[in-house]
Amino acid sequence: MVEHGAIEAQTLFGLDPTWLAATLFLCTYGLILLERVNRAIIALFAAGLMILSGVLTQQAAIQGIDFNTIGLLTGMMIIVAITRKSGVFQYMAIWSAKKVNADPWGILVMLILVTAVFSALLDNVTTVLLIVPVTLLITDELKLNPYPFLFSEIFASNIGGTATLIGDPPNIMIGSAVGLSFNDFVINLGPAVVVILAITLIPIYFIWGRTLDAPQELRDRVMAYEEKEAITDKVLLIKSLSVLTLVILGFVLGHDLGHQPATIAMFGAALLMLLDNLPRAFTDQAEVCHRTYGNVEWTTIFFFIGLFIVVYGLESTGILDTLAHEVLMLTGGDMAITALSILWVSAIASALVDNIPFVATMIPLIKGMAGAMGGAENLMPLWWSLALGSCLGGNGSLVGASANLIVAGFAERAGHQIHFLKFLLMAFPLMLVSIVISTFYVYFRFL
Protein backbone atom coordinates (compact mmCIF):
# COMPACT_ATOMS: atom_id res chain seq x y z
CA MET A 1 0.00 0.00 0.00
CA VAL A 2 1.41 3.38 -1.02
CA GLU A 3 0.20 6.56 0.57
CA HIS A 4 0.06 10.01 -1.01
CA GLY A 5 -1.58 12.21 1.55
CA ALA A 6 -5.16 11.12 1.67
CA ILE A 7 -4.86 9.05 -1.46
CA GLU A 8 -4.07 5.38 -1.32
CA ALA A 9 -3.21 3.01 -4.09
CA GLN A 10 -2.95 -0.78 -4.26
CA THR A 11 -0.14 -2.18 -6.43
CA LEU A 12 -0.75 -4.88 -9.01
CA PHE A 13 -0.36 -8.43 -7.61
CA GLY A 14 0.80 -6.84 -4.36
CA LEU A 15 4.21 -6.09 -5.89
CA ASP A 16 6.62 -3.96 -3.90
CA PRO A 17 5.75 -0.38 -4.99
CA THR A 18 9.35 0.79 -4.53
CA TRP A 19 10.73 -1.79 -6.92
CA LEU A 20 7.84 -1.32 -9.31
CA ALA A 21 8.29 2.47 -9.44
CA ALA A 22 12.08 2.18 -9.74
CA THR A 23 11.79 -0.36 -12.56
CA LEU A 24 9.27 1.77 -14.45
CA PHE A 25 11.44 4.85 -13.95
CA LEU A 26 14.62 3.13 -15.17
CA CYS A 27 12.83 1.61 -18.16
CA THR A 28 11.49 5.06 -19.05
CA TYR A 29 15.00 6.53 -18.91
CA GLY A 30 16.43 3.62 -20.89
CA LEU A 31 13.83 3.88 -23.62
CA ILE A 32 14.27 7.65 -23.86
CA LEU A 33 18.02 7.10 -24.26
CA LEU A 34 17.51 4.45 -26.95
CA GLU A 35 15.60 6.96 -29.10
CA ARG A 36 13.61 4.20 -30.76
CA VAL A 37 10.21 5.58 -29.71
CA ASN A 38 9.33 9.25 -29.34
CA ARG A 39 10.01 10.41 -25.78
CA ALA A 40 6.51 11.89 -25.41
CA ILE A 41 4.98 8.46 -26.10
CA ILE A 42 7.36 6.73 -23.67
CA ALA A 43 6.69 9.19 -20.85
CA LEU A 44 2.93 9.07 -21.26
CA PHE A 45 2.95 5.27 -21.54
CA ALA A 46 5.10 4.95 -18.40
CA ALA A 47 2.82 7.40 -16.59
CA GLY A 48 -0.14 5.22 -17.50
CA LEU A 49 1.67 2.16 -16.16
CA MET A 50 2.46 4.02 -12.91
CA ILE A 51 -1.29 4.40 -12.40
CA LEU A 52 -2.47 1.05 -13.79
CA SER A 53 0.12 -0.86 -11.76
CA GLY A 54 -1.11 0.87 -8.62
CA VAL A 55 1.99 2.89 -7.70
CA LEU A 56 -0.17 6.01 -7.99
CA THR A 57 -3.87 6.67 -8.13
CA GLN A 58 -5.12 8.94 -10.90
CA GLN A 59 -5.68 11.75 -8.39
CA ALA A 60 -2.14 11.37 -7.08
CA ALA A 61 -0.74 11.37 -10.62
CA ILE A 62 -2.54 14.63 -11.36
CA GLN A 63 -1.09 16.08 -8.15
CA GLY A 64 2.35 15.19 -9.46
CA ILE A 65 1.98 17.27 -12.63
CA ASP A 66 3.53 20.70 -12.25
CA PHE A 67 0.87 22.76 -13.98
CA ASN A 68 2.88 25.92 -13.41
CA THR A 69 5.57 24.55 -15.74
CA ILE A 70 2.97 23.28 -18.23
CA GLY A 71 1.10 26.60 -18.21
CA LEU A 72 4.24 28.69 -18.57
CA LEU A 73 5.51 26.60 -21.47
CA THR A 74 2.16 26.56 -23.28
CA GLY A 75 1.52 30.27 -22.75
CA MET A 76 4.93 31.27 -24.06
CA MET A 77 4.59 28.91 -27.04
CA ILE A 78 1.31 30.61 -28.02
CA ILE A 79 2.79 34.11 -27.62
CA VAL A 80 5.84 33.18 -29.71
CA ALA A 81 3.69 31.45 -32.36
CA ILE A 82 1.75 34.67 -32.92
CA THR A 83 4.73 37.03 -32.57
CA ARG A 84 6.87 35.17 -35.10
CA LYS A 85 4.29 35.83 -37.84
CA SER A 86 5.19 39.52 -37.67
CA GLY A 87 8.74 38.89 -38.96
CA VAL A 88 10.40 40.68 -36.04
CA PHE A 89 13.03 37.99 -35.55
CA GLN A 90 14.22 38.15 -39.15
CA TYR A 91 14.19 41.94 -38.89
CA MET A 92 16.48 41.85 -35.86
CA ALA A 93 18.89 39.39 -37.49
CA ILE A 94 19.19 41.44 -40.68
CA TRP A 95 19.37 44.72 -38.79
CA SER A 96 22.20 43.38 -36.62
CA ALA A 97 24.14 42.13 -39.68
CA LYS A 98 23.87 45.54 -41.33
CA LYS A 99 24.87 47.36 -38.13
CA VAL A 100 28.36 45.88 -38.53
CA ASN A 101 28.53 46.66 -42.27
CA ALA A 102 28.15 42.97 -43.04
CA ASP A 103 31.62 42.23 -41.68
CA PRO A 104 31.65 38.43 -41.14
CA TRP A 105 33.11 38.46 -37.62
CA GLY A 106 30.84 41.35 -36.66
CA ILE A 107 27.83 39.44 -37.99
CA LEU A 108 28.84 36.39 -35.97
CA VAL A 109 29.09 38.45 -32.77
CA MET A 110 25.82 40.24 -33.43
CA LEU A 111 23.98 37.00 -34.19
CA ILE A 112 25.38 35.53 -30.97
CA LEU A 113 24.02 38.50 -29.04
CA VAL A 114 20.62 38.44 -30.77
CA THR A 115 20.34 34.68 -30.22
CA ALA A 116 21.34 34.95 -26.56
CA VAL A 117 18.88 37.78 -25.82
CA PHE A 118 15.97 36.12 -27.64
CA SER A 119 16.79 32.80 -25.97
CA ALA A 120 16.66 34.48 -22.58
CA LEU A 121 13.35 36.24 -23.24
CA LEU A 122 11.58 33.55 -25.25
CA ASP A 123 13.00 30.08 -25.51
CA ASN A 124 16.06 28.79 -27.23
CA VAL A 125 14.31 26.36 -29.57
CA THR A 126 12.10 29.06 -31.07
CA THR A 127 15.04 31.43 -31.29
CA VAL A 128 17.20 29.12 -33.36
CA LEU A 129 14.23 28.13 -35.52
CA LEU A 130 13.93 31.77 -36.53
CA ILE A 131 17.55 32.92 -36.56
CA VAL A 132 19.21 29.98 -38.33
CA PRO A 133 17.44 30.40 -41.72
CA VAL A 134 18.56 34.07 -41.84
CA THR A 135 22.07 32.98 -40.86
CA LEU A 136 22.14 30.46 -43.70
CA LEU A 137 20.93 33.10 -46.13
CA ILE A 138 23.61 35.57 -45.06
CA THR A 139 26.46 33.04 -45.08
CA ASP A 140 25.30 31.83 -48.49
CA GLU A 141 25.35 35.41 -49.74
CA LEU A 142 28.85 35.99 -48.32
CA LYS A 143 29.99 32.57 -49.60
CA LEU A 144 31.10 31.60 -46.09
CA ASN A 145 31.03 28.25 -44.35
CA PRO A 146 27.99 28.52 -42.03
CA TYR A 147 29.45 26.10 -39.45
CA PRO A 148 31.15 28.70 -37.18
CA PHE A 149 27.95 30.73 -37.16
CA LEU A 150 25.70 27.76 -36.39
CA PHE A 151 28.07 26.44 -33.74
CA SER A 152 28.15 29.85 -32.06
CA GLU A 153 24.37 30.19 -32.21
CA ILE A 154 23.95 26.83 -30.48
CA PHE A 155 26.19 28.05 -27.68
CA ALA A 156 24.52 31.45 -27.52
CA SER A 157 21.05 29.91 -27.31
CA ASN A 158 21.94 27.60 -24.43
CA ILE A 159 23.98 30.24 -22.58
CA GLY A 160 21.36 32.95 -23.08
CA GLY A 161 18.57 30.61 -22.00
CA THR A 162 20.39 30.02 -18.71
CA ALA A 163 19.89 33.63 -17.64
CA THR A 164 16.15 33.67 -17.06
CA LEU A 165 13.26 31.71 -15.61
CA ILE A 166 11.73 31.23 -19.06
CA GLY A 167 14.89 30.75 -21.12
CA ASP A 168 15.31 27.01 -20.80
CA PRO A 169 12.97 24.21 -19.63
CA PRO A 170 15.24 23.22 -16.66
CA ASN A 171 14.93 26.77 -15.31
CA ILE A 172 11.16 26.73 -15.74
CA MET A 173 11.00 23.45 -13.79
CA ILE A 174 13.38 24.60 -11.05
CA GLY A 175 11.74 28.00 -10.74
CA SER A 176 8.31 26.45 -10.48
CA ALA A 177 9.30 23.75 -8.00
CA VAL A 178 11.16 26.14 -5.71
CA GLY A 179 9.03 29.24 -6.22
CA LEU A 180 11.84 31.32 -7.71
CA SER A 181 10.95 34.50 -9.55
CA PHE A 182 12.07 35.84 -12.92
CA ASN A 183 14.18 38.41 -11.06
CA ASP A 184 15.82 35.70 -8.93
CA PHE A 185 17.17 34.04 -12.06
CA VAL A 186 18.30 37.29 -13.70
CA ILE A 187 20.03 38.53 -10.56
CA ASN A 188 21.65 35.24 -9.60
CA LEU A 189 22.49 33.74 -12.99
CA GLY A 190 22.62 36.83 -15.25
CA PRO A 191 26.16 37.92 -14.29
CA ALA A 192 27.54 34.41 -14.82
CA VAL A 193 25.85 34.21 -18.22
CA VAL A 194 27.33 37.53 -19.37
CA VAL A 195 30.85 36.43 -18.36
CA ILE A 196 30.47 32.97 -19.92
CA LEU A 197 29.13 34.42 -23.19
CA ALA A 198 32.02 36.90 -23.39
CA ILE A 199 34.66 34.27 -22.64
CA THR A 200 33.11 31.81 -25.13
CA LEU A 201 33.72 34.37 -27.87
CA ILE A 202 37.50 34.23 -27.32
CA PRO A 203 38.15 30.67 -28.58
CA ILE A 204 35.54 31.16 -31.31
CA TYR A 205 37.48 34.21 -32.50
CA PHE A 206 40.84 32.43 -32.49
CA ILE A 207 39.52 29.30 -34.18
CA TRP A 208 37.29 30.90 -36.81
CA GLY A 209 36.72 34.59 -36.28
CA ARG A 210 40.10 35.97 -37.30
CA THR A 211 40.04 34.17 -40.65
CA LEU A 212 36.46 35.07 -41.57
CA ASP A 213 36.47 37.35 -44.56
CA ALA A 214 34.20 38.30 -47.42
CA PRO A 215 34.77 40.50 -50.50
CA GLN A 216 33.22 43.96 -50.35
CA GLU A 217 30.92 43.22 -53.30
CA LEU A 218 29.30 40.34 -51.40
CA ARG A 219 29.04 42.43 -48.24
CA ASP A 220 27.29 45.08 -50.32
CA ARG A 221 24.68 42.51 -51.25
CA VAL A 222 23.89 41.92 -47.59
CA MET A 223 23.86 45.67 -47.01
CA ALA A 224 21.22 45.89 -49.74
CA TYR A 225 18.78 43.83 -47.66
CA GLU A 226 15.85 45.96 -46.60
CA GLU A 227 15.13 44.78 -43.09
CA LYS A 228 11.89 46.76 -42.91
CA GLU A 229 10.51 44.45 -45.59
CA ALA A 230 11.02 41.54 -43.22
CA ILE A 231 8.17 42.91 -41.13
CA THR A 232 5.12 41.26 -42.64
CA ASP A 233 2.46 42.70 -40.34
CA LYS A 234 3.15 45.98 -38.55
CA VAL A 235 -0.10 45.95 -36.58
CA LEU A 236 0.59 42.45 -35.35
CA LEU A 237 4.15 43.49 -34.53
CA ILE A 238 2.91 46.30 -32.28
CA LYS A 239 0.34 44.05 -30.61
CA SER A 240 2.72 41.17 -30.01
CA LEU A 241 5.63 43.28 -28.79
CA SER A 242 3.28 45.15 -26.44
CA VAL A 243 1.96 41.90 -25.00
CA LEU A 244 5.45 40.42 -24.78
CA THR A 245 6.64 43.51 -22.89
CA LEU A 246 3.67 43.25 -20.53
CA VAL A 247 4.36 39.55 -19.96
CA ILE A 248 8.03 40.20 -19.15
CA LEU A 249 6.92 43.00 -16.80
CA GLY A 250 4.44 40.57 -15.31
CA PHE A 251 7.25 38.09 -14.66
CA VAL A 252 9.35 40.84 -13.05
CA LEU A 253 6.59 42.25 -10.84
CA GLY A 254 4.15 39.34 -10.56
CA HIS A 255 6.07 37.24 -8.05
CA ASP A 256 5.77 39.89 -5.33
CA LEU A 257 2.05 40.21 -6.09
CA GLY A 258 1.60 36.48 -5.63
CA HIS A 259 1.05 35.62 -9.30
CA GLN A 260 2.62 32.48 -10.71
CA PRO A 261 4.49 32.68 -14.06
CA ALA A 262 1.97 30.28 -15.65
CA THR A 263 -0.88 32.69 -14.94
CA ILE A 264 1.06 35.57 -16.50
CA ALA A 265 2.11 33.57 -19.58
CA MET A 266 -1.36 32.10 -20.16
CA PHE A 267 -3.07 35.45 -19.63
CA GLY A 268 -0.59 37.08 -22.01
CA ALA A 269 -1.35 34.34 -24.56
CA ALA A 270 -5.09 34.89 -24.17
CA LEU A 271 -4.69 38.67 -24.49
CA LEU A 272 -2.60 38.37 -27.64
CA MET A 273 -5.05 35.89 -29.17
CA LEU A 274 -7.87 38.30 -28.33
CA LEU A 275 -6.05 41.22 -29.97
CA ASP A 276 -5.14 39.07 -32.98
CA ASN A 277 -8.70 37.80 -33.48
CA LEU A 278 -10.78 40.83 -32.58
CA PRO A 279 -10.58 42.46 -36.04
CA ARG A 280 -11.47 39.15 -37.72
CA ALA A 281 -14.92 37.87 -38.59
CA PHE A 282 -16.31 35.46 -35.99
CA THR A 283 -16.40 32.66 -38.57
CA ASP A 284 -12.67 33.08 -39.32
CA GLN A 285 -11.63 33.04 -35.67
CA ALA A 286 -12.07 29.27 -35.26
CA GLU A 287 -9.57 28.60 -38.04
CA VAL A 288 -7.06 31.15 -36.70
CA CYS A 289 -7.37 29.77 -33.15
CA HIS A 290 -6.95 26.24 -34.48
CA ARG A 291 -3.73 27.25 -36.25
CA THR A 292 -2.40 29.09 -33.19
CA TYR A 293 -3.06 26.18 -30.84
CA GLY A 294 -1.57 23.90 -33.48
CA ASN A 295 1.73 25.75 -33.07
CA VAL A 296 2.01 24.62 -29.44
CA GLU A 297 4.60 21.85 -29.23
CA TRP A 298 2.24 19.28 -27.81
CA THR A 299 4.86 16.55 -27.90
CA THR A 300 6.94 18.58 -25.42
CA ILE A 301 3.92 19.32 -23.25
CA PHE A 302 2.84 15.66 -23.10
CA PHE A 303 6.43 14.62 -22.48
CA PHE A 304 6.46 16.88 -19.43
CA ILE A 305 3.09 15.60 -18.21
CA GLY A 306 4.17 11.98 -18.48
CA LEU A 307 7.54 12.64 -16.95
CA PHE A 308 6.12 14.53 -13.98
CA ILE A 309 3.89 11.55 -13.20
CA VAL A 310 6.73 9.02 -13.57
CA VAL A 311 9.04 11.04 -11.31
CA TYR A 312 6.21 11.62 -8.82
CA GLY A 313 5.59 7.87 -8.74
CA LEU A 314 9.24 7.33 -7.87
CA GLU A 315 9.23 10.18 -5.38
CA SER A 316 6.14 8.82 -3.62
CA THR A 317 7.97 5.60 -2.76
CA GLY A 318 10.67 7.51 -0.86
CA ILE A 319 13.53 6.31 -3.11
CA LEU A 320 14.60 9.84 -3.95
CA ASP A 321 14.81 10.76 -0.25
CA THR A 322 17.03 7.74 0.32
CA LEU A 323 19.15 8.72 -2.68
CA ALA A 324 19.42 12.27 -1.35
CA HIS A 325 20.78 10.94 1.92
CA GLU A 326 23.21 8.72 0.02
CA VAL A 327 24.46 11.73 -1.95
CA LEU A 328 24.88 13.70 1.27
CA MET A 329 26.81 10.79 2.78
CA LEU A 330 29.13 10.90 -0.24
CA THR A 331 29.67 14.65 0.02
CA GLY A 332 29.86 14.55 3.80
CA GLY A 333 26.93 16.97 3.95
CA ASP A 334 29.29 19.76 2.91
CA MET A 335 27.37 22.44 1.02
CA ALA A 336 30.28 23.42 -1.25
CA ILE A 337 31.07 19.84 -2.26
CA THR A 338 27.38 19.05 -2.77
CA ALA A 339 26.73 22.19 -4.86
CA LEU A 340 29.78 21.73 -7.06
CA SER A 341 29.06 18.02 -7.47
CA ILE A 342 25.55 18.85 -8.64
CA LEU A 343 26.96 21.46 -11.02
CA TRP A 344 29.43 19.07 -12.65
CA VAL A 345 27.26 15.96 -12.65
CA SER A 346 24.33 17.84 -14.16
CA ALA A 347 26.60 19.43 -16.79
CA ILE A 348 28.08 16.11 -17.89
CA ALA A 349 24.70 14.35 -17.75
CA SER A 350 22.98 17.12 -19.69
CA ALA A 351 25.63 16.96 -22.39
CA LEU A 352 24.96 13.28 -22.92
CA VAL A 353 21.26 12.83 -22.22
CA ASP A 354 18.09 14.86 -22.26
CA ASN A 355 18.32 17.36 -19.42
CA ILE A 356 14.55 17.52 -18.82
CA PRO A 357 14.16 14.05 -17.22
CA PHE A 358 17.43 14.60 -15.40
CA VAL A 359 16.25 17.85 -13.83
CA ALA A 360 12.80 16.40 -13.13
CA THR A 361 14.53 13.71 -11.06
CA MET A 362 17.03 16.04 -9.40
CA ILE A 363 14.36 18.43 -8.12
CA PRO A 364 12.76 16.06 -5.58
CA LEU A 365 16.22 14.65 -4.81
CA ILE A 366 17.56 18.11 -3.86
CA LYS A 367 14.37 18.89 -1.95
CA GLY A 368 15.07 15.73 0.05
CA MET A 369 18.33 17.31 1.25
CA ALA A 370 16.54 20.18 3.01
CA GLY A 371 16.50 18.53 6.44
CA ALA A 372 20.20 17.73 6.46
CA MET A 373 21.13 21.18 5.10
CA GLY A 374 19.23 23.07 7.79
CA GLY A 375 16.05 23.88 5.87
CA ALA A 376 14.80 24.55 2.34
CA GLU A 377 16.08 28.15 2.44
CA ASN A 378 19.67 26.88 2.63
CA LEU A 379 19.38 24.93 -0.60
CA MET A 380 19.74 27.90 -2.95
CA PRO A 381 23.38 27.17 -3.97
CA LEU A 382 22.21 23.71 -5.01
CA TRP A 383 19.39 25.07 -7.16
CA TRP A 384 21.67 27.56 -8.94
CA SER A 385 24.22 24.80 -9.49
CA LEU A 386 21.54 22.58 -11.00
CA ALA A 387 20.31 25.39 -13.27
CA LEU A 388 23.81 26.30 -14.47
CA GLY A 389 24.88 22.69 -14.94
CA SER A 390 21.80 21.45 -16.73
CA CYS A 391 21.41 24.48 -19.04
CA LEU A 392 25.08 24.97 -19.93
CA GLY A 393 25.71 21.24 -20.11
CA GLY A 394 23.38 21.16 -23.13
CA ASN A 395 26.25 22.69 -25.13
CA GLY A 396 28.43 19.63 -24.59
CA SER A 397 27.19 17.58 -27.52
CA LEU A 398 24.82 17.70 -30.45
CA VAL A 399 22.21 15.77 -28.47
CA GLY A 400 22.58 17.90 -25.34
CA ALA A 401 19.67 20.21 -26.10
CA SER A 402 16.71 20.35 -28.48
CA ALA A 403 18.05 23.60 -29.97
CA ASN A 404 21.29 21.84 -30.98
CA LEU A 405 19.39 19.19 -32.91
CA ILE A 406 17.24 21.78 -34.62
CA VAL A 407 20.30 23.70 -35.80
CA ALA A 408 21.89 20.44 -36.98
CA GLY A 409 18.70 19.60 -38.90
CA PHE A 410 18.74 22.98 -40.66
CA ALA A 411 22.43 22.62 -41.46
CA GLU A 412 21.87 19.20 -43.00
CA ARG A 413 18.98 20.44 -45.14
CA ALA A 414 21.18 23.29 -46.34
CA GLY A 415 23.89 20.82 -47.35
CA HIS A 416 26.26 21.57 -44.47
CA GLN A 417 25.97 18.57 -42.18
CA ILE A 418 27.17 19.06 -38.59
CA HIS A 419 28.92 15.85 -37.60
CA PHE A 420 28.39 14.58 -34.07
CA LEU A 421 32.08 13.95 -33.33
CA LYS A 422 33.38 17.13 -34.91
CA PHE A 423 30.91 19.13 -32.84
CA LEU A 424 31.70 17.17 -29.69
CA LEU A 425 35.46 17.72 -29.96
CA MET A 426 35.04 21.48 -29.95
CA ALA A 427 31.83 21.84 -27.94
CA PHE A 428 32.60 19.59 -25.00
CA PRO A 429 35.82 21.38 -23.94
CA LEU A 430 34.14 24.74 -24.47
CA MET A 431 31.21 23.58 -22.34
CA LEU A 432 33.69 22.53 -19.65
CA VAL A 433 35.18 26.04 -19.73
CA SER A 434 31.71 27.43 -18.98
CA ILE A 435 31.37 24.98 -16.08
CA VAL A 436 34.78 25.97 -14.70
CA ILE A 437 33.62 29.61 -14.78
CA SER A 438 30.36 28.53 -13.12
CA THR A 439 32.34 26.67 -10.45
CA PHE A 440 34.14 29.87 -9.46
CA TYR A 441 30.90 31.81 -9.72
CA VAL A 442 28.93 29.41 -7.51
CA TYR A 443 31.77 29.16 -5.02
CA PHE A 444 32.35 32.89 -4.60
CA ARG A 445 28.76 34.04 -5.02
CA PHE A 446 26.75 31.46 -3.12
CA LEU A 447 29.05 29.50 -0.83
Binding site: Q90, L129, P133, E229, F410
Partner: protein, 152 residues
Protein backbone atom coordinates in the same frame (compact mmCIF):
# COMPACT_ATOMS: atom_id res chain seq x y z
CA UNK B 1 -12.71 1.39 -69.66
CA UNK B 2 -9.35 1.95 -68.06
CA UNK B 3 -6.56 4.51 -67.80
CA UNK B 4 -5.20 3.20 -71.12
CA UNK B 5 -8.08 4.97 -72.83
CA UNK B 6 -6.94 8.45 -71.82
CA UNK B 7 -3.22 7.84 -71.39
CA UNK B 8 -0.51 9.37 -73.56
CA UNK B 9 1.74 6.40 -74.31
CA UNK B 10 4.53 8.46 -75.88
CA UNK B 11 5.20 11.40 -73.64
CA UNK B 12 8.55 13.18 -73.29
CA UNK B 13 10.60 11.41 -70.62
CA UNK B 14 13.91 11.94 -68.89
CA UNK B 15 16.55 9.36 -68.05
CA UNK B 16 17.78 9.17 -64.46
CA UNK B 17 21.30 9.97 -65.71
CA UNK B 18 20.24 13.21 -67.44
CA UNK B 19 21.50 16.57 -66.26
CA UNK B 20 19.54 19.54 -64.98
CA UNK B 21 20.33 21.50 -68.15
CA UNK B 22 18.58 18.91 -70.34
CA UNK B 23 15.63 18.67 -67.95
CA UNK B 24 15.20 22.45 -68.09
CA UNK B 25 15.36 22.43 -71.87
CA UNK B 26 12.75 19.64 -72.11
CA UNK B 27 10.39 21.22 -69.64
CA UNK B 28 10.58 24.59 -71.37
CA UNK B 29 10.16 23.01 -74.79
CA UNK B 30 7.15 20.89 -73.86
CA UNK B 31 5.65 23.54 -71.55
CA UNK B 32 4.78 20.87 -69.02
CA UNK B 33 4.96 21.06 -65.24
CA UNK B 34 6.77 17.77 -64.81
CA UNK B 35 8.33 14.94 -66.73
CA UNK B 36 8.52 11.26 -65.84
CA UNK B 37 11.98 9.82 -65.23
CA UNK B 38 12.91 6.29 -66.30
CA UNK B 39 16.02 4.14 -65.98
CA UNK B 40 17.96 2.42 -68.78
CA UNK B 41 15.47 -0.49 -68.80
CA UNK B 42 12.49 1.78 -69.16
CA UNK B 43 11.42 1.35 -65.56
CA UNK B 44 9.74 4.27 -63.87
CA UNK B 45 11.88 5.91 -61.14
CA UNK B 46 10.19 9.25 -60.40
CA UNK B 47 9.25 12.64 -61.81
CA UNK B 48 11.21 15.82 -62.33
CA UNK B 49 9.09 18.92 -61.85
CA UNK B 50 9.42 22.55 -62.85
CA UNK B 51 9.23 23.36 -59.14
CA UNK B 52 12.63 21.73 -58.83
CA UNK B 53 14.04 24.25 -61.31
CA UNK B 54 12.52 27.08 -59.31
CA UNK B 55 14.00 25.58 -56.17
CA UNK B 56 17.46 25.56 -57.70
CA UNK B 57 17.42 29.24 -58.63
CA UNK B 58 16.26 30.44 -55.21
CA UNK B 59 18.49 30.77 -52.11
CA UNK B 60 18.48 27.52 -50.12
CA UNK B 61 17.29 29.31 -46.97
CA UNK B 62 14.01 30.13 -48.71
CA UNK B 63 13.12 26.71 -50.05
CA UNK B 64 14.38 24.39 -47.31
CA UNK B 65 11.93 22.87 -44.83
CA UNK B 66 11.43 25.38 -42.02
CA UNK B 67 13.12 28.08 -44.11
CA UNK B 68 12.28 31.78 -44.34
CA UNK B 69 8.61 32.46 -44.99
CA UNK B 70 9.20 35.96 -46.31
CA UNK B 71 11.87 37.13 -48.75
CA UNK B 72 10.62 40.63 -49.48
CA UNK B 73 13.77 42.09 -47.92
CA UNK B 74 16.01 40.39 -50.48
CA UNK B 75 17.01 42.47 -53.47
CA UNK B 76 18.07 40.01 -56.14
CA UNK B 77 17.49 40.23 -59.88
CA UNK B 78 17.25 37.81 -62.81
CA UNK B 79 21.03 37.77 -63.17
CA UNK B 80 21.37 36.43 -59.63
CA UNK B 81 18.85 33.69 -60.37
CA UNK B 82 20.63 32.82 -63.62
CA UNK B 83 23.96 32.64 -61.80
CA UNK B 84 22.48 30.21 -59.33
CA UNK B 85 21.01 28.11 -62.16
CA UNK B 86 24.37 27.89 -63.93
CA UNK B 87 25.90 26.39 -60.78
CA UNK B 88 23.43 23.49 -61.01
CA UNK B 89 23.36 22.89 -64.78
CA UNK B 90 25.70 19.92 -64.68
CA UNK B 91 24.09 18.33 -61.62
CA UNK B 92 22.11 15.11 -62.19
CA UNK B 93 18.34 15.46 -62.16
CA UNK B 94 18.19 13.00 -59.28
CA UNK B 95 19.18 15.80 -56.83
CA UNK B 96 15.58 16.89 -56.73
CA UNK B 97 13.64 14.19 -58.53
CA UNK B 98 10.48 13.21 -56.66
CA UNK B 99 9.97 9.53 -56.07
CA UNK B 100 6.87 9.62 -53.90
CA UNK B 101 4.48 10.80 -56.62
CA UNK B 102 1.19 8.97 -56.98
CA UNK B 103 1.23 6.55 -59.90
CA UNK B 104 -1.55 4.47 -61.41
CA UNK B 105 -1.70 1.15 -63.21
CA UNK B 106 -2.74 1.04 -66.90
CA UNK B 107 -5.69 -1.07 -65.70
CA UNK B 108 -6.97 1.49 -63.21
CA UNK B 109 -10.66 2.03 -64.03
CA UNK B 110 -11.35 5.24 -65.95
CA UNK B 111 -13.47 7.01 -63.33
CA UNK B 112 -11.03 6.06 -60.59
CA UNK B 113 -8.23 7.48 -62.77
CA UNK B 114 -10.11 10.76 -63.09
CA UNK B 115 -10.86 10.83 -59.36
CA UNK B 116 -7.16 10.42 -58.56
CA UNK B 117 -6.26 13.06 -61.15
CA UNK B 118 -8.78 15.45 -59.58
CA UNK B 119 -7.47 14.92 -56.05
CA UNK B 120 -3.83 14.76 -57.07
CA UNK B 121 -3.94 17.98 -59.15
CA UNK B 122 -1.11 16.90 -61.44
CA UNK B 123 -0.35 14.48 -64.25
CA UNK B 124 -0.24 10.82 -63.30
CA UNK B 125 2.54 8.46 -64.40
CA UNK B 126 1.13 5.14 -65.54
CA UNK B 127 3.26 2.22 -64.39
CA UNK B 128 2.94 -1.54 -64.84
CA UNK B 129 2.54 -2.75 -61.22
CA UNK B 130 4.58 -5.97 -61.45
CA UNK B 131 7.43 -4.99 -63.73
CA UNK B 132 7.60 -1.28 -62.78
CA UNK B 133 7.71 -0.52 -66.52
CA UNK B 134 6.73 3.00 -67.48
CA UNK B 135 3.66 2.96 -69.78
CA UNK B 136 2.72 6.63 -70.19
CA UNK B 137 1.06 9.57 -68.45
CA UNK B 138 -2.46 10.76 -67.86
CA UNK B 139 -2.70 14.54 -68.05
CA UNK B 140 -5.60 16.96 -67.83
CA UNK B 141 -5.13 17.73 -71.52
CA UNK B 142 -5.27 14.10 -72.65
CA UNK B 143 -8.36 13.49 -70.54
CA UNK B 144 -9.98 16.71 -71.77
CA UNK B 145 -9.28 15.85 -75.40
CA UNK B 146 -10.62 12.33 -74.96
CA UNK B 147 -13.85 13.53 -73.32
CA UNK B 148 -14.44 16.23 -75.94
CA UNK B 149 -13.85 13.74 -78.74
CA UNK B 150 -16.28 11.18 -77.30
CA UNK B 151 -19.57 10.89 -79.18
CA UNK B 152 -22.78 11.19 -77.23
Amino acid sequence: MTARLVMNANPAVLRDTDKISLAAEQIMQHRCRRLPVVDKDGKYVGVFGINCLLRLVLPRALVMEGGLDNAAFLKQDLKDLHQRFIRHMEDPITICMKEDVRVISPDTPLIETLRILYNHKGSLPVVEPKSGKFCGVVTYWDVGAAILAAEV
